[in-house]
C-alpha cells in the first residue's frame, strides 16, 4: 500500500473501496466483541464461512466479524445486511438454516428473531426496542466494521475528519471547535476536554504528550473496551486530531492487559494507519508528524488515575501523586500531557465532521452529545447502550433495558462505579447529565450502570465496593489506606450481624474524614457508595444492626437455607448438587443439616421451579422469605 500523501489520495482510495462494494449485496455481520466471544461467536462466524462456501454463495455474500453490537444479553448477535435482519442467540447449528432460508430464499428464521413481551416477532435491527430507543453515534459504526480492516472504516467515512482538520483547519480552529462543542470528559470527572487541551497547548515545555486512557477499571463497565476493540481507528483518528490541536507529536494508548482483544486490535490498527501514512511523518501531506505507542497496564484500579497512569508509562509503580500542578502542565516525564478517556477521543471526529453546532444540538444545557452506558446487573437486556444526554434513567432501564427480570421489583440503579452512588427507584426520572447526577448524590462516572432489585442487599453492596477499594488502594496515603480498612471492618461486622449502635455514625464520620484528606480521586470518592446507601437505605443498615436480619436475604451470617417439607418433591437434585453433602433424606422429603451447610445457595439454584421448596429464612427469626 503506497502512503496516502494528500486528501485527494485519501478520497481516491475511499472511492475505490466504495466502488468495489455493492451496497445491495448481502453481508452477514457477526458480533465478535468479547461478550459474544464468551458465547462462542468464532464458531458461528466460521460456520457461516464454510456453509456459504458449501452452497456456492461465496463471492456474493460477505461474512464480516464486527465489533460489539451492544446487545450482549442475546449473543451471538448476527445481522444480515442490507435487509438489517437481526438474529439473536445464534449458535453454529443455526447457521445452515439461516443460509438456506434467509440468504437463499429470502425468508426470515422466526425462531431466532427478537420476540417482545407479547410474543410478537421483531425482525429488523432498528425496530427492536433495545436499539430503537438508543441514539448510537459514537458506537454506531461498530456493527458495520471489521476492526481489523481499515477499508471498512474508510468505507464508513473514516479519517475524513482528520483530513479536514489537518488540511483545512488551523490547530486553533480545531481547539475552538472542541471548546465550542463543550465536549466533557467521558472518563468520570466531566472536565471540559477543550479546556484541558488548551492548557496543555499553552503550557511551557516540549515535547507534549497525548494519551488515550483505556485502563477501564470500573468492575462491571466495558464501554471503552468495546469501542477500542470494535472501532480502534475512530479512537486513533480522534487522538491524532487532538495531537494536532495541542501540538503534540507523540501519543500513547494505555490499555489493560486484561483486554487482549482490544490490545490486539489497537496494535493492528496502529500498524495499518502507519502503513497508510495516517501516522508518522507528514501525515496526508500536511507537514504534521505524529506517532503512537501502546502501553499495557497490569491491572490496578488506581492506575487509571492520570498521574498514576503516567508513572506507569515511565516504568514505575502506578501510584498517583498529589497534583499541585496538573498533569496537563507537567505530566509524563514532567512534560505537558493531555490525557482523555477512549470515549472522549472517539467523539472528536464527529465534532470536526459535523460541526460544534450539531454536537451541541444533542443533550442538555451543560452536558452535550451522547453517553455510552454499560447496563448490567438485574436487568433483562444486559448490554451497551448509547443515549443522548438528558435521557432519564427510567427510559434506559425500562424502554431499552426491558425492565427487571423474574417479576422482581427494582430497588436502585448504581452509577459511577466504585466512586459513584445509588439512586433509588423514586429517583429514576433523573436525567443523564453530569451535574444532575451529581446533585442527585451519584455521578456520571465512566458509564457503569448497575441495576439492583429487591434481592440486592445495600449493605452488602456498600461492603463490596469498600472491599474493592480497600484492595485497590495503593497505600500511599494514610486516610485511604487505613480509613478504608476500618470502614471495611465495620461494614463486614454489620453484614455478619455484629453491628453496634453508632456504627452508622462512625461510618459517616470516617467518610467525611477520608473525603477531606485523601490524596487522589480514588480515596476522595471512596466513601460515596457508603454515604449514598446510608442516605437512601438507612432502614437496611438498621435492620442489620438492630434486628440482625438482612431484608434482601443476601448476608450469609444472617440467613439460613431451609427446605420447606410441604413443597419438597424429593427429586434429590439439591442433595446431589450440595458441595458439602449437607442435605439429607427424611421420610418424604430432604432437609438441610445446618451444621454442615456453607450457605452457598447451590440447592436453591437447582430446586425446580415447580417446587420452589428451598427458601431463605432469617437466621434469628423464623420468618420465611423466598430466595431472590
Amino acid at each position: 500500500m503506497p502512503k496516502l500523501k494528500s486528501d485527494t489520495d485519501l478520497e481516491g482510495l475511499r472511492q475505490r473501496i466504495l466502488a468495489e462494494r455493492d451496497p445491495n449485496a448481502s453481508c452477514v455481520t457477526v458480533c465478535s466483541g468479547t461478550g459474544c466471544h464468551a458465547y462462542g461467536c468464532e464458531g458461528v462466524a466460521d460456520a457461516f464461512v464454510s456453509e456459504i462456501q458449501r452452497v456456492g454463495l461465496d463471492g456474493q455474500v460477505r461474512v464480516r466479524r464486527t465489533g460489539c453490537h451492544g446487545f450482549c444479553e442475546r449473543g451471538t448477535v448476527v445481522v444480515i445486511l442490507p435487509e438489517e435482519i437481526c438474529y439473536l442467540h445464534v449458535k453454529p447449528e443455526d447457521v445452515p438454516e439461516i443460509v438456506s432460508s434467509t440468504l437463499m430464499d429470502k425468508n426470515v428464521v422466526e425462531r431466532l428473531a427478537y420476540s417482545d413481551a407479547n410474543g410478537q416477532k421483531i425482525v429488523r435491527h432498528g425496530e427492536i426496542p433495545f436499539y430503537k430507543h438508543q441514539r448510537q453515534i459514537v458506537f454506531g459504526d461498530n456493527r458495520f466494521i471489521d476492526p481489523k480492516s481499515i477499508e471498512d472504516y474508510l468505507a464508513r467515512g473514516g479519517y475524513a475528519a482528520l483530513s479536514k482538520a489537518l488540511l483545512q483547519m488551523t490547530p486553533e480552529q480545531v481547539l475552538a471547535a472542541v471548546k465550542e462543542a463543550n465536549l466533557r470528559g467521558r472518563g468520570g470527572g466531566g472536565f471540559p476536554a477543550g479546556r484541558k487541551w488548551e492548557t496543555t497547548r499553552n503550557a511551557p515545555g516540549d515535547p507534549k504528550y497525548v494519551i488515550v486512557n483505556a485502563d477501564e477499571g470500573d468492575p462491571g463497565a466495558y464501554m471503552d473496551r468495546s469501542l477500542l476493540e470494535g472501532n480502534p481507528h475512530r479512537v486513533i483518528e480522534g487522538l491524532i486530531i487532538g495531537a494536532y490541536a495541542i501540538d503534540s507529536h507523540e501519543g500513547y494508548i494505555y490499555v489493560r492487559q486484561e483486554y487482549p482483544l482490544a490490545l490486539e486490535n489497537s496494535i493492528q490498527a496502529l500498524e495499518t494507519a502507519r502503513e497508510y501514512g495516517l501516522l508518522g511523518e507528514n501525515i496526508l501531506g500536511s507537514g504534521f508528524n505524529f506517532d503512537v505507542s501502546i502501553h499495557r497496564g497490569a491491572g490496578a484500579f488506581v492506575s487509571g488515575e492520570s498521574s498514576a497512569l503516567m508513572n506507569a508509562i515511565e516504568g514505575r509503580v502506578g501510584k498517583p501523586r498529589s497534583k499541585y500542578v496538573h498533569t496537563s502542565e507537567k505530566g509524563l516525564w514532567e512534560k505537558p500531557t493531555c490525557l482523555n478517556n477512549v470515549e472522549t477521543w472517539a467523539n472528536v471526529p464527529f465534532i470536526i465532521n459535523q460541526g460544534a453546532d450539531w454536537f451541541r444540538g444533542i443533550g442538555t444545557e451543560n452536558s452535550k452529545g451522547t453517553k455510552i452506558f454499560s447496563l448490567v446487573g438485574k436487568i433483562r437486556n444486559t448490554g451497551l447502550v448509547e443515549v443522548p444526554m438528558g435521557s432519564t434513567l427510567r427510559e434506559i432501564v425500562y424502554d431499552i433495558g426491558g425492565g427487571i427480570p423474574d417479576g422482581k421489583q427494582i430497588k436502585a440503579v448504581q452509577t459511577g462505579g466504585p466512586s459513584g452512588g445509588v439512586l433509588p427507584e423514586s429517583m429514576l426520572d433523573v436525567p443523564v447529565d453530569f451535574d444532575e447526577l451529581w446533585e442527585a448524590g451519584s455521578m456520571m462516572g465512566s458509564g457503569g450502570m448497575i441495576v439492583m432489585d429487591e434481592g440486592t442487599c445495600m449493605v452488602d453492596t456498600a461492603r463490596y465496593y469498600i472491599d474493592f477499594l480497600a484492595h485497590e488502594s495503593c497505600g500511599k496515603c494514610v486516610p485511604c489506606r487505613e480509613g478504608l480498612r476500618q470502614m471495611l471492618r465495620i461494614l463486614t461486622d454489620i453484614t455478619l450481624g455484629k453491628g453496634k449502635d453508632g456504627d452508622i455514625e462512625l461510618l459517616e464520620e470516617l467518610s467525611a474524614f477520608i473525603e477531606d484528606s485523601a490524596l487522589c480521586a480514588l480515596g476522595k470518592t471512596a466513601p460515596n457508595p457508603v454515604l449514598s446507601t446510608i442516605s437512601r437505605f438507612r432502614d437496611e443498615y438498621e435492620a442489620h444492626i438492630k434486628d440482625k436480619r438482612c431484608p434482601a436475604g443476601v448476608c450469609k451470617a444472617l440467613i439460613s437455607y431451609y427446605i420447606n417439607p410441604d413443597d419438597c418433591i424429593a427429586c434429590a437434585l439439591c442433595a446431589r448438587d450440595c458441595p458439602t453433602d449437607a442435605i439429607e433424606k427424611t421420610d418424604t422429603a430432604y432437609a438441610i443439616n445446618q451444621e454442615k451447610c456453607t450457605k452457598c445457595g447451590a440447592c436453591a439454584a437447582v430446586c425446580p421451579d415447580k417446587a420452589k421448596a428451598v427458601v431463605v429464612r432469617d437466621a434469628v427469626r423464623a420468618e420465611y422469605q423466598v430466595v431472590a
Binding site: 509503580v317 458441595p579 452457598c600
Partner: protein, 371 residues
C-alpha cells in the same frame, strides 16, 4: 594475563583474545581521559583517548573499539553528534555518555539515539567499570548472529550430535574465557552458579523431591533464557520494566524470584523496585500457578447476580481458597474484577472457556474434563 604474552602467541590465539583497543574515551578534560584510561587498563581493557569529537571519531573509525565513552558537553562537536556519527562509522560500537549532574535530562535523550547508559561526573572506577562491562555484554548482542552462533557452539560439534560431556565442557570453558575477557572474575561466576544451585535444592525440598535438583536447575535456566530474551526485545530499557514483567509473566505464567533478580541485574534497577511493581499489580503471580486457571468474576454485575455464591461453590469443589493452587499444581482459583461479559453473570472462566452460573455438579464436570 594474556596481555603479558609474547607477540607470537597473541597472534596465534585468535578471536577469544581481547582486541588491542576495547574502549575509546572522548572528553575535553584531560584528567577524565587519563583517569578512565588508568581504571580501564587496570581491568584489562585496551584503551585509547581523544580530546575532542573530531579526533575521537577518527580513532573510533580506525580502531573499531567495542565501547566508546563520550562526554556530552564538549566544545565543537558535542556528545549527541558524536554518538550519532559513531553509529555510522562503527555500527557495532556501544556508546556510553559521560555527563555533569545538571544535564541528566539531555543524557537520557542521548539514550534514545543509541547510547546504552550514562554515568554522571564525578564517578568512581567501580561505576565506570560496571557500565563498561554491561556495554561489553551488549556488544555481544549487537554482533551479527552468524558470527555469534559458531562461537556459542564450537565447530567441532556438528549440530545434530547429542551433547556429550566433552562438548559441554568445551562450551563451559569457552564461556569462562569470554567472561574473563569481559572483566568478570571466575569467582563471581561460580558464586552465581552456586546461588542458582542452592535455590534449586531448596525448591526441590519444598516440593518433597517430586523433581530432582538437576531438573529444577534446567527449568530455571530455561526461565532465565526466556527472561533475558524479553529484556533484549525491549532494548534493556528501564522504562519498559512493567512491559518486560508482563511479557515474562505471559511466557512463564508466573514471575519466579530468580527471574526478578536477573531482570534487576540486567536493567540495573534495585530488586525492591521490581518487587514493588510485581506485588502492586493484579496481573503478576509471584507464586507458581496450577496448570489450569479457574477465574470467577467478582465485578459488580456478577456480584449482584450471585458471584459470591458461585465462588463458594467453586472453592468447595476445588478444595482451595481464592488465590490458592491445589497441592497437585493442577488448578489455581482466582477472582477477577470484571471480564466484561456481564450478560452471562455470574461467570466462571476455565482456561478461556466461559460458563454462566454453573451448578456444583457442572463445576465438578468441567474440572474433571481438565486434563
Amino acid at each position: 594475563m594474556e596481555t603479558n604474552m609474547t607477540g607470537e602467541s597473541t597472534a596465534s590465539s585468535t578471536s577469544d583474545e581481547p582486541r588491542a583497543t576495547d574502549v575509546v574515551v572522548i572528553d575535553d578534560e584531560e584528567s577524565i581521559c587519563e583517569g578512565c584510561r588508568q581504571a580501564l587498563e587496570a581491568d584489562g581493557y585496551g584503551t585509547a583517548t581523544a580530546p575532542d569529537g573530531v579526533q575521537g571519531l577518527r580513532l573510533v573509525e580506525e580502531l573499531q573499539p567495542r565501547v566508546v565513552l563520550v562526554d556530552l558537553k564538549m566544545p565543537g562537536m558535542g556528545g549527541v553528534e558524536v554518538v550519532t556519527k559513531v553509529s555510522e562509522v562503527a555500527p557495532s560500537v556501544v556508546p556510553i555518555i559521560i555527563t555533569g549532574y545538571g544535564s541528566i535530562e539531555s543524557a537520557v535523550e542521548t539514550m534514545r539515539i543509541g547510547a546504552s547508559d550514562f554515568i554522571t561526573k564525578p564517578f568512581t572506577p567501580e561505576k565506570l567499570l560496571g557500565s563498561v562491562r554491561h556495554a561489553m555484554e551488549l556488544t555481544e548482542a549487537k554482533a551479527k548472529p552468524e558470527v555469534a552462533a559458531p562461537a556459542a557452539r564450537p565447530a567441532a560439534v556438528p549440530e545434530a550430535a547429542p551433547p556429550s560431556k566433552h562438548s559441554l565442557l568445551l562450551q563451559g570453558l569457552d564461556a569462562l574465557g569470554r567472561l574473563s575477557s569481559l572483566g568478570f572474575r571466575k569467582r563471581e561466576f561460580l558464586n552465581e552458579l552456586r546461588a542458582l544451585e542452592s535455590e534449586a535444592r531448596e525448591r526441590a525440598e519444598r516440593m518433597g523431591h517430586a523433581k530432582d535438583k538437576e531438573e529444577i536447575v534446567l527449568e530455571m535456566v530455561h526461565d532465565l533464557h526466556v527472561a533475558d530474551g524479553v529484556i533484549q526485545k525491549h532494548g534493556y530499557s528501564k522504562s519498559a520494566l512493567i512491559q518486560i514483567l508482563l511479557d515474562v509473566q505471559t511466557e512463564l505464567n508466573w514471575l519466579p524470584g530468580y527471574c526478578l533478580r536477573w531482570i534487576s541485574a540486567r536493567l540495573n534497577v534495585p530488586e525492591t523496585a521490581i518487587y514493588g511493581i510485581a506485588s502492586f499489580y493484579e496481573a503478576f503471580a509471584l507464586e507458581r500457578r496450577g496448570a489450569h486457571l479457574v477465574q470467577v468474576c467478582t465485578g459488580t454485575a456478577c456480584h449482584v447476580r450471585g458471584a459470591p455464591r458461585l465462588l463458594d461453590r467453586t472453592s468447595g469443589v476445588l478444595g482451595v481458597k481464592p488465590g490458592e493452587t491445589d497441592p497437585e499444581m493442577k488448578f489455581t482459583l482466582q477472582t477477577v474484577h470484571c471480564l466484561g461479559c456481564c450478560a452471562l453473570g455470574p461467570v466462571m472462566v476455565v482456561d478461556g472457556n466461559y460458563y454462566s452460573d454453573p451448578s456444583t455438579r457442572q463445576i465438578a464436570k468441567i474440572m474433571d474434563a481438565c486434563n
